[in-house]
Symmetry: C2
Subunit: 195 residues, 2 copies
């Protein structure tokens, strides 16, 4: 792992925890194990690190939601749909890297239009569009009742997003949030899926 990558990694941790303005270049350097001026061998300045991080976030979005690859095989039953959904959420809630990225984006979402747009993608559009495709596919197979797939995708993903953000903010509630999410998804399936 190159020094540049270590800088990005430690900076993401610090920005997620204390925000851009709440993090000093010296803190970053200390975490990496070098002196602050040495950072300038790798980045033009503090803001340059920030921009590299937002580039990472954008790349990560493309890689995660840019293609249909990540959808994998379509669920063939209600139980399989529920299981795969829970699994995806559980991963997203507990994976440290993804958590940091989410907190970082939420913190810096108002910095400029670019941050705002990427935050919206990560928090709303990405998962929603993905589930719209999944539900659309399953609708063709008669597993979902006929309806607007995008609307249904919103209904199922929005409460999840909100509980995930609560878990980020109050990690003590993570497990409780997961239970609410499961209850919600089951209810969603009962209402919108065929028997």
């Amino acid at each position: 792992m190159t020094t540049r990558d270590r800088i990005l990694d430690e900076t993401l941790t610090l920005f997620a925890e204390n925000g851009y303005d709440g993090t000093s270049v010296e803190q970053i350097a200390e975490k990496v194990g070098i002196k602050a001026p040495s950072l300038y061998n790798h980045f033009k300045g503090k803001e340059d690190i920030l921009n590299a991080l937002i580039d990472m976030a954008e790349a990560r979005y493309e890689e995660s939601f840019g293609s249909d690859k990540h959808i994998g095989r379509l669920p063939e039953s209600k139980e399989e749909f529920i299981r795969s959904a829970i699994e995806r959420v559980s991963f997203t809630v507990y994976d440290p890297m993804i958590r940091k990225m989410r907190k970082f984006l939420v913190r810096e979402q108002f910095r400029n239009e670019r941050f705002a747009a990427i935050t919206t993608k990560h928090q709303m559009d990405g998962v929603r569009d993905m589930y719209a495709r999944i539900i659309n596919g399953m609708m063709s197979k008669g597993l979902f009742k006929e309806d607007d797939p995008e609307l249904l995708a919103t209904e199922v993903t929005a409460p999840v997003a909100l509980w995930v953000s609560k878990a980020d903010r109050q990690p003590d509630c993570a497990q409780e949030s997961m239970e609410c999410i499961e209850r919600h998804i089951r209810h969603f399936c009962d209402v919108y899926m065929t028997e």
Copy 2:
């Protein structure tokens, strides 16, 4: 309006726009129209202002959602339910004071447990519990199909919360968000209300 209140008001604006760490005491003083050291006649320091603001946010929550008063008369038809919901959202999206408070909380939610808890109340629990009561009342009157009111309240409020947060972040999309919200609420009513 006392100087103390003017300080709180201007500080909320600045914190909503630039965050706590991105706002200097001097900026606050300038907006109020006094010199920075004069602030210390009204507050012990910068953090004291922050704490006064979070006290305000907590008080506002109690006043807005603490009693059943704000619910008013229960809607007696689908159209009335939709209209009152849209009206409430529209107010919340465009009222400058409420917007500032929301942005302030979102920005500072990770500061400590208290900020986290109040943010959750404002963003999730408050409106959800309120709609759980409304839906429960309307269910007794046979306007909603039998179901878990709290679960339904989550289904209807969560997507709204997400679109509102998007409108905060990307004000250009505010109107578009309102349209999505209306479509979502109509769909919700079609599914869960009786004819």
